[in-house]
């Protein structure tokens, strides 16, 4: 009762003319973007769900509702389980490395030193280059015959005469290689985000810690890491999304091989849906990306907000 009176009084108090249009204007400014996004993200997303319940293929224009048959097939498909497992391993290891290395690199870049602009330019390169082209650069570095890694390691006597790894051709090495390329690609973004978080810490806090006699490690764990935590989580969120849903690195470097040991959900969906022509199964496989992403997003948004409030 009293709340509604208060609201009425507040509304009456705001008597400037543009106030009445505020909500309407807000909706009008928002409408084009919302309509576009609904039409080009929401609609295809539901279409993907619909396809996953049908027998759609690349060739035919008609389709029939088949219920959960595609999902039953996928859940019995060992390659799918392998892809799911690979995608999780790929994402977890690469993002753990990206966050730790990104933190170290951001701290090394914090503050001024000579040649900083050049270092920054070189460090940003992997993020700026198109991923398909950067991956091709690595394809050349990992070449089975001309690999520069092998040549250098042999020249430095790290590899004996018998050792000549085929980076993309041996199961464990192939996974390690695609993880390396993914770290290479996402490290610049994480570094830039974490660096911004570091720069946002007020100088007073550093000064106070120094006056109180905090050493490097104490400073790192009591001040640097806790204060940068929310923004590090943001960097991690982006990293997980980009890595878990990516198929370019896998597509260019290994095509999922050898023996599906680097196959992930995104690439398996592409090979099934587009190259295999089974749109329905491809759509069903790709939908397994969504709940994981949604869960990750909710967790991180909650954590980020909590950290902000505290």
């Amino acid at each position: 009762m009293s709340a509604s009176i208060a609201r009425q009084r507040a509304a009456a108090g705001r008597n400037r003319p543009w106030c009445d249009d505020e909500a309407l204007l807000g909706r009008m400014l928002l409408a084009p973007a919302v309509i576009y996004i609904t039409a080009l993200v929401g609609f295809p997303f539901f279409l993907a769900i619909f396809y996953s319940l049908s027998d759609a293929t690349v060739g035919s224009t008609t389709l029939h509702f088949v219920g959960l048959r595609n999902y039953e097939g996928i859940l019995q498909d060992p390659t799918f389980w392998r892809s799911l497992q690979n995608a999780i391993v790929f994402t977890l290891i690469s993002q753990a490395l990206v966050v730790v290395l990104g933190k170290i690199l951001a701290m090394a870049l914090y503050g001024d030193f000579r040649g900083k602009w050049l270092v920054r330019l070189l460090i940003l390169l992997p993020w700026v280059a198109p991923m398909s082209l950067g991956s091709i650069g690595w394809l050349w570095i990992f070449d089975p015959v001309y690999s520069i890694i092998n040549w250098s390691a042999r020249a430095l006597h790290i590899f004996g005469p018998e050792i000549w790894p085929v980076w993309l051709g041996q199961p464990d090495l192939a996974m390690a290689s695609v993880i390396l390329v993914d770290v290479w690609r996402l490290l610049p973004l994480a570094t830039v985000i974490i660096l911004a978080g570091l720069s946002a810490i007020p100088q007073d806090i550093h000064d106070a810690a120094q006056v109180d006699g905090a050493g490097f490690w104490r400073h790192l764990f009591m001040i640097n890491i806790p204060l940068v935590m929310p923004i590090m989580l943001v960097a991690l969120l982006f990293g997980i999304v980009f890595t878990f849903t990516d198929m370019i690195v896998i597509f260019v470097l290994t095509r999922g091989g050898p023996f599906d040991t680097t196959q992930v959900i995104a690439s398996y969906s592409f090979f099934t849906g587009v190259q295999g022509g089974d749109l329905a199964a491809g759509a069903a496989i790709s939908l397994f990306l969504f709940p994981v992403l949604a869960a990750v997003a909710v967790v991180f948004l909650t954590l980020a907000r909590r950290a902000e409030v505290a």
Partner: protein
């Protein structure tokens, strides 16, 4: 001297002890290691671009030096025997149109989310952010049929239509954070001077938002340049490729790789954008984090 005056600038001035020198050495070492890891592939691309193929494929040669004289042959192949130039033009055209659409949609949306809506706006903002998490790898299968039924197969317009589906959500979110960081007083002063809310947005807020707009432009162009999956799915004619699709599909034929030309193409595309990024990186970072932490 009074013992209470301890916080003079000299306290934090460089110390020339052993510990300090060790720390500096460690700093240089860490940076060198990271730069080597991150930039080496580009150095390697540069070297490969100017090497003769016979030099590249002789395993008795030291790969770090030119064993045969450097050559421009790989670049000649890239520009004269492939449609690389056309691919760059296509990418720039698509990039410009997508940037325009993104700005037209995301600027008002970001402003509305930042200023003109209460609780529901916050929820809608999060909803828009979440749509960004629906990846091309889920959407390209339905899109391949939608594009077909619109008659846009193999047309650059299909990319112009689809690319804003990932640039608009992200840029709206980014600009929302950016507009929130602008003091309300500026618009309120403009409105007291007689401008409407819309007028204040168009004439006052947008002109002082060049940093946010620039962030959006660079981000959009980068995303367009990097996109691979949609381009590969929708475009089938070589002359309609964008750079990121054309180079790996056209220059890679079966098991034959034109390494020199491939590496040259990657380098030529990456370097100008990297320089642009570097000039604006402070603004980019500011725009990014304001957007990210709200």
């Amino acid at each position: 001297m009074c013992p209470l005056v301890v916080r003079e600038p000299e306290v934090s001035a460089p110390r020339f002890g052993v510990k300090h020198r060790l720390a500096r050495g460690g700093h240089v070492l860490i940076l060198a290691a990271f730069v080597t890891f991150l930039a080496f592939p580009f150095y390697w691309m540069g070297l490969t671009t100017f090497k003769q193929t016979r030099d590249l494929i002789d395993i008795t040669h030291n790969p770090f030096v030119f064993n045969l004289p450097p050559t421009l042959e790989n670049l000649r192949v890239l520009f004269y025997d492939t449609q690389f130039g056309q691919w760059i033009i296509n990418t720039v055209e698509v990039g410009a149109l997508v940037t325009l659409i993104t700005l037209l949609l995301a600027l008002p949306a970001g402003y509305a989310l930042a200023r003109l809506s209460g609780r529901w706006g916050q929820r809608l903002g999060i909803a828009i952010f979440l749509t960004y998490l629906i990846p091309p790898t889920i959407l390209f299968i339905p899109f391949s049929r939608i594009i077909g039924s619109l008659g846009l197969q193999d047309s650059l317009w299909s990319l112009v239509l689809v690319y804003p589906s990932f640039t608009v959500p992200f840029c709206s979110w980014l600009l929302m954070g950016f507009f929130k960081s602008i003091p309300r007083d500026i618009e309120e002063a403009a409105m007291i001077d007689g401008l409407s809310r819309l007028g204040a947005f168009v004439r006052v807020v947008v002109p002082i938002s060049s940093a946010g707009i620039l962030t959006v432009v660079i981000f959009t162009l980068t995303l367009v340049m990097q996109e691979f999956v949609y381009g590969l799915t929708f475009i089938t004619t070589s002359s309609h490729y964008t750079v990121s699709v054309g180079v790996p599909t056209f220059l890679v034929r079966g098991d034959v790789y034109f390494w020199g030309s491939l590496m040259g193409a990657c380098l030529i595309v990456s370097l100008p954008v990297a320089l642009l990024y570097n000039i604006f990186v402070e603004r980019f970072v500011a725009g990014f984090t304001v957007g990210a932490v709200k």
